[in-house]
């Protein structure tokens, strides 16, 4: 429908093709279809990219269950939930952004893109707080790591009061908590990297949206970026329970 409208408005201003239609496409609809499909295929590669990490996580969690349980207790469910909420909200604002672009409402588009941008930054900020806490508590594997909190959970009263059942781990098992944090940092880091890329593209889009690029031109770019943003959200939807929630009980 929009694209029908688009095509019409394009024809009005430009008898042959709308200006945003690339020369090798026969119609705007074909162009939209092709780029949209390409975006989906790109998301497939992203699924498989994270697939390797998920596989590693599942195997290691099976092997070193006690270590993974106690290590995951170091994560703050409060911040995790907050971040999930932030990301879901940003997904919503992004969806609304796409809608505004489709409806040709420039003001709303800018508002929603701006909100998405802001929420993305909030997510990264919270992630930064969590990472900083890991740094403080010597839970950054390979660089700054100590297994003290796991060989002697009572030394960490804050976590211990929440999880009084946590027993001291044997040295060999306590060493495996590092594996949890390897994967924690690899997965959240890779996710955050995708967020950073997304935020950069959002900034670019906001600048372009101010120049009416989407409300006059075609919205494909906004829609495709929306797909990317929602995909990053979905990754987090799985990371959140896997890393934070499923190991609350032994």
């Amino acid at each position: 429908m929009t694209h029908g409208d688009l095509a019409k408005s394009g024809e009005a201003s430009h008898m042959e093709h709308p200006s945003y239609q690339r020369h090798h496409f026969e119609s705007v609809a074909q162009q939209f279809d092709a780029t949209n499909f390409a975006m989906w295929l790109f998301l497939l590669t992203e699924i498989m990219f994270f697939g390797g990490l998920f596989t590693a996580y599942l195997i290691m969690r099976n092997w070193y269950y006690p270590a993974f349980v106690e290590a995951s207790h170091q994560l703050s469910i409060f911040w995790g939930t907050a971040n999930t909420t932030v990301l879901i909200l940003s997904s919503f604002t992004m969806a609304m952004g796409v809608w505004s672009a489709q409806m040709r409402r420039k003001g709303m588009l800018l508002l929603f893109l701006g909100l998405t941008f802001f929420l993305g930054l909030v997510f990264l900020g919270i992630k930064g707080i969590e990472w900083h806490e890991k740094w403080e508590k010597y839970h950054v594997p390979g660089i700054r790591y100590s297994i003290q909190d796991f060989t002697n959970p009572a030394a960490d009263p804050e976590v211990h009061s929440q999880y009084p059942d946590d027993k001291p781990l044997g040295l060999d098992m306590a060493n495996k908590t590092e594996m949890y944090f390897f994967l924690y940092f690899a997965m959240t880091g890779m996710h955050a990297l995708h967020m950073v890329i997304g935020i950069a593209i959002l900034a670019f889009m906001i600048v372009r949206a101010r120049a009416d690029a989407y409300t006059q031109g075609h919205v494909t770019f906004v829609e495709n970026f929306g797909l990317y943003w929602h995909f990053v959200d979905i990754i987090w939807i799985f990371l959140f329970p896997l890393l934070y929630l499923i190991s609350r009980h032994q």
Binding site: Y64, G170, L171, D172, M173, N175
Partner: protein, 357 residues
């Protein structure tokens, strides 16, 4: 030929008379493996000949000169079904046959003689139960099943004996096994076939197959004084394992006598059979292998014992058949003279279903 190049001629003659085209068959499994191999060669030759005949025949018959006008044919479901089903059937035969062979090669018989092999950059070290150890060589008798328990100290290696048609990777951190029964005395190649760094191609050795009598002589002449189990016993004492594993009622660790081969229940509720792999893991990663009813207090020995040391300990615990032997360890710092392989008959005193933490 002789005219053209005497050098070439000599070369070919020498090759035909001196160099093999097929490896010797020196183990019981080798003829079986070769039977499948030749079956596959046969099928391949028939298949290849068929393709060549079809292509060459059609090329001649339907050359542009003979057949200026092509006849358009859509296809033939019948023909296509034929060349789907026949290869599929043949491949499935090879699959079943190959799998049977695979299981045979990787399932050691119960009475096999066990030799430990440690791979490290870039040498093989074999340890016989009698304490004889050899570098880049392995002496085995004919007519007796030999099981190799392989492990690597660093990277992946692969223990390959082409004449026996067996091969198995030595993996860091885990035991793998393979077995064979040599049939023909002689010296055969031992290769490391998994690329393992700079001197990969130097990680080779000899497999010396001997008659049982010669083998016994060799064993006697190369003994190092104490058996593998005795080395383990010494290590057991020096690491103070007996402080907890002492089979007394108030012991903090489970009784180890007779534990090998039994089933134990772990703290996690899981029930496992105690084998070499389990013993190794229990020494290096004890808290994952705590026996039910015991506290997880055993320290890890990861990084403190070499793979050879672990092997000696495992061999010691394997041969620990009764409390009698354990008491001996406790009571003497001096090694008891030659008491290996003296199976205690009353092995039942150790309660099965318990192992160390």
């Amino acid at each position: 030929m002789n005219y053209i190049s005497p050098v070439l001629w000599q070369f070919i003659e020498k090759w035909l008379t001196h160099f093999p085209l097929f490896p010797p068959e020196a183990s019981k499994i080798a003829p079986e493996a070769d039977a499948l191999f030749f079956f596959m060669v046969l099928v391949s030759l028939v298949g290849l000949t068929l393709v060549i005949l079809l292509v060459a025949g059609f090329s001649l018959l339907y050359h542009r000169k003979r057949n200026p006008q092509a006849t358009q044919i859509e296809g033939s479901t019948l023909l296509e079904a034929t060349w789907t089903i026949i290869p599929l059937g043949l491949f499935l035969i090879m699959f079943v046959w190959g799998s049977l062979l695979y299981f045979r090669i990787y399932t050691p018989p119960a009475n096999a003689m066990n030799i430990y092999v440690v791979g490290k950059q870039w040498m093989w070290k074999a340890e016989h139960p009698g304490g004889q150890h050899e570098i880049d060589a392995l002496h085995v008798p004919t007519g007796r099943a030999v099981q190799l328990t392989l492990i690597s100290q660093d990277v992946f290696h692969s223990f390959s004996i082409p004449a026996f048609r067996v091969k198995r990777e030595a993996i860091p951190g885990r035991y793998t096994t393979v077995w064979f029964e040599a049939t023909r005395p002689g010296t055969y190649h031992l290769f490391c076939t998994q690329y393992c760094g700079t001197n990969h191609s130097q990680m080779i050795g000899d497999i010396v197959v001997m008659t049982p009598d010669d083998f016994k002589k060799w064993l006697d002449s190369s003994t190092s004084g104490s058996s593998l189990a005795q080395n383990g016993e010494r290590l057991f004492a020096s690491l103070s394992c007996n402080a907890c594993h002492n089979s007394t009622p108030e012991a903090r660790g489970p009784n180890l006598a007779g534990v090998y081969g039994s089933r134990v229940t772990l703290a996690s509720g899981q029930s496992v059979t105690v084998d070499e792999a389990f013993l190794r893991q229990a020494i290096l990663n004890p808290s994952e292998h705590v026996t039910q009813g015991y506290a997880p207090i055993m320290p890890t020995y990861q990084g403190q014992i070499s793979e050879d040391g672990v092997i000696a300990l495992v061999e010691y615990i394997k041969n620990l058949n009764s409390d009698y032997r354990l008491q001996q360890t406790l009571n003497t710092t001096q090694l008891p003279p030659d008491n290996t392989g003296k199976p205690a008959q009353a092995g039942g005193s150790a309660a099965p279903g318990e192992v160390k933490q």
